[in-house]
């Protein structure tokens, strides 16, 4: 089994090289690029499926594979090794599964792009890096994957690099990720200092003996890395701009896989986080705020991809809310369901864009359900799922999260409950409230996008057409999963990840949600919220379409504030980037040029020159001045002699 584990990440890597080499050369082979890459992805999926089957039913069973010793500075040693346990199994299945579907979809989407080989090579390279991240047996291999996916997202966002805007978006993504990675690095250093190693097994054994303050600090630092990668406040600004990349990229990287890396990291480091209550509170707060802010912005966006981007940021906020309340498995469950419906939504949007010849503004769509029935149906199902329509997988995962935030389990190692907000409301109740409000907004803006795109009359001027089969098959598969997965496998999934489930959420635990009548009332409540959101959405954009316009006219300030994305980008520009570049110019111009170079270096040169000039003037050529100088020096010498030497006579 160890061999297959090594092959899983190797397949995409080899795929990437092959794609680039074989089809890079001439036009005829360009078509092959897509298929080679997809085969690599599917191959990796099959291997993962085999590994998953091989993973024995026993809860703690693990498959490990050791490639080589990366580097070793005694006593600190780093191995290139992989770890395949249940958590990794789930994530790898998602990555390779959804990844393969997106590769298939991309063949259709990128069918007439001249630089296809380069695109598919980067896509496969991304899969390789993501698998490294998920399968890594220690934090450093995870970090390699971490920065690797950062690089691939940079390359793919800036794929159409002729337009400088895309390149700037790519660079922005990489730099903001790097800021997060810096935090991640510091967290790793702290862990190395505390425990002497970075392997997950070693860490989980030694962390309980480490001084609690350090655990909190390490947890916060690693979370900073997660904030950078999973686009939480304050480092989420790069995700909306990342929509500059082709849609399959947005679907794969910025919806399903890469952005969930932060959530996976926290689940993997659950031992660390369960010993850091303060850090969990921080995570909960950040998650809630991000969810809320992103949802508010999503409501007013007109570009379909931007709506989905902000919705992703919001859903990630939800996942971190779950992590913040130490319900790691629920977070992962939401990752899985989110991967299904968000990938499906992005690809749906992609096929709409593809159909309308690269038009992305929803105001140019409308009435497409007749022209693109398959895309419409899959988009509808996914919208219901993300809105949390009862019995869709989205409902199950999001409802569970809201419940874990709401229900404070006494013996669960969750955040300390003393933290209160606004007077006396306990933190988790506040977050639950904001969570429900966000759920309402989510339902509304998703239905808004559905209505504006597929209903009403067509406002664009291109002739829309349904996407080819190679694009619609993945849509249908994912839509089916989005609809049924939660209902069919919800229970089984939670049991499968019992190692990461919070005590009160575990099956058979006395305070289990099932027997708790409060849980059932909340369940009904969130169903109502979802349906309410959908109904409002439908009404606003069909029957009484006047309401949105009136609202916009009425709440001009608020609308403007939201359209400009809470002025966050401008804020960073004013507070961070402009002063930094001003400071660096100051450093270069005045410190480097004037102070060090000017005064010290050239200055000393000029000083010597000036000194020489003064002395030159002494040689005036007139003998009398020479005589005078001689006499004066003689006089001084005698004076010195008389003053210092006792007169011998």
């Amino acid at each position: 089994m160890e061999k297959t584990l090594l092959l899983v990440p190797l397949f995409p890597l080899v795929g990437a090289l092959l794609t680039y080499v074989i089809s890079g050369k001439d036009e005829r082979h360009h078509r092959m690029a897509g298929w080679i890459a997809t085969f690599a992805a599917v191959g990796s999926f099959i291997l993962t499926f085999q590994l998953w089957r091989a993973l024995s039913a026993v809860e703690g069973s693990v498959i490990t594979a050791h490639a080589w010793t990366w580097f070793e500075v005694l006593p600190f040693k780093v191995e290139f090794a992989f770890l395949f346990d249940r958590l990794a199994a789930v994530m790898t299945l998602i990555i390779t599964g959804v990844g393969s579907l997106i590769h298939l979809y991309a063949i259709g989407y990128m069918s007439h792009d001249p630089e296809r080989p380069r695109f598919f090579a980067y896509l496969n390279l991304f899969l390789f890096a993501m698998l490294l991240l998920v399968l890594g047996d220690n934090l450093l291999v995870m970090f390699v994957g971490w920065e690797g996916v950062g690089l691939c997202s940079y390359l793919l966002i800036g794929f159409w690099h002729r337009d400088m805007g895309n390149a700037v978006a790519g660079q922005k993504a990489f730099v903001v990720n790097r800021i997060g990675d810096a935090g991640f690095l510091l967290g790793m250093f702290l862990l190395v200092m505390m425990t002497g190693s970075l392997e997950f097994q070693q860490l989980s054994q030694q962390i309980p003996y480490v001084d609690p303050m350090m655990i909190e600090l390490a947890a916060i630092l690693l979370f900073i890395g997660a904030v950078g990668k999973s686009a939480q406040i304050p480092l989420y600004v790069w995700l909306p701009d990342a929509m500059a990349g082709p849609t399959p990229v947005s679907a794969l990287i910025h919806a399903a896989t890469m952005v969930t890396a932060g959530v996976y990291m926290m689940a993997r480091m659950q031992v660390l986080y369960s010993f850091a209550p303060a850090a969990l509170s921080v995570v909960l707060i950040v998650g809630t705020l991000t969810a809320f802010v992103a949802a508010t912005i999503a409501i007013v966006q007109n570009d379909i991809k931007k709506v989905l981007a902000y919705s992703t940021v919001s859903q990630l906020g939800y996942m971190f809310m779950a992590m913040g309340s130490a319900a790691f498995s629920n977070g992962i469950f939401h990752v899985v369901t989110h991967a299904f419906f968000k990938a499906c939504l992005f690809m749906g949007a992609g096929s709409v864009i593809h159909g309308c010849h690269h038009e992305q503004d929803m105001r140019k769509f409308g009435g497409l359900w007749r022209k693109m029935p398959l895309t419409f149906v899959t988009y509808l199902i996914s919208t219901l799922a993300i809105a949390g329509f009862p019995f869709t997988s989205g409902f199950f995962s999001k409802d569970a999260i809201l419940w874990t935030v709401f229900n404070v389990a006494e013996d669960a190692p969750a955040m300390n409950h003393t933290v209160v907000v606004f007077g006396d409301i306990p933190l988790n109740l506040f977050c639950w409230g904001v969570g429900v409000l966000t759920a309402l907004m989510t339902a509304f803006y998703m239905t808004r996008s559905l209505m504006m795109t597929f209903f009403g009359k067509y406002r664009g001027h291109h002739e829309p057409h349904e996407s080819p089969m190679v694009m619609t098959i993945p849509l249908m598969i994912l839509a089916a999963l989005a609809a049924g997965f939660g209902f069919v496998y919800g229970e089984a999934f939670m049991e499968y990840l019992v190692g990461w489930t919070r005590i009160d959420m575990q099956v058979g635990h006395h305070a289990l949600a099932e027997h708790n009548e409060v849980y059932h009332t909340l369940e009904l409540f969130s169903m109502g919220v979802a349906i309410l959101g959908i109904v409002i959405g439908v009404l606003c954009y069909s029957v009484c379409s006047g309401i949105p316009k009136a609202l916009v006219k009425h709440a001009k300030g608020l609308h403007n504030f939201l359209v400009n994305k809470w002025w966050v980008d401008e804020f960073y520009q004013a507070v961070l980037i402009r002063p930094l570049s001003g400071f660096s110019t100051f450093l270069f111009k005045s410190i480097d040029r004037v102070l060090i170079d000017g005064i010290l270096v050239n200055g000393s040169g000029m000083f010597v020159e000036a000194g020489g000039d003064v002395l030159r003037r002494l040689q005036s050529g007139r003998t009398s001045s020479y005589a005078f100088l001689m006499f004066v020096s003689l006089f001084l010498l005698i004076l010195l002699y008389l003053v210092f030497m006792p007169v011998p006579i």
Binding site: Q619, S620, G621, R622, S624, A627, F631
Partner: protein
Amino acid sequence: MGAVTGYLYLSALLFSLGVLGVLVGRNTIVILMCVELMLNAVNIAFEALSVHFQTLDGQIAVFFVMSVAAAEVAVGLAIVITLFRNYLSVETHDAVTLRG
């Protein structure tokens, strides 16, 4: 005892006048003469101290100073002549080609 200090004062005064003559002199020849004057001042001091200390060394020194002075004048005058030949004047402020 006053004689020696008297002569030393005289010698100091003469020497200073000689120096003044050298520094202020316009004419090279005058400078030469002032140098002579300074040498004589020194001789007076030598002689006075020789008498004061009852030794002959002082007087011997005077002889040597005189011979040196003679040599100095000879060379000095030769230089003055060549100076005159090149600059057509012996004024100090003309020969400034050595200016830096």
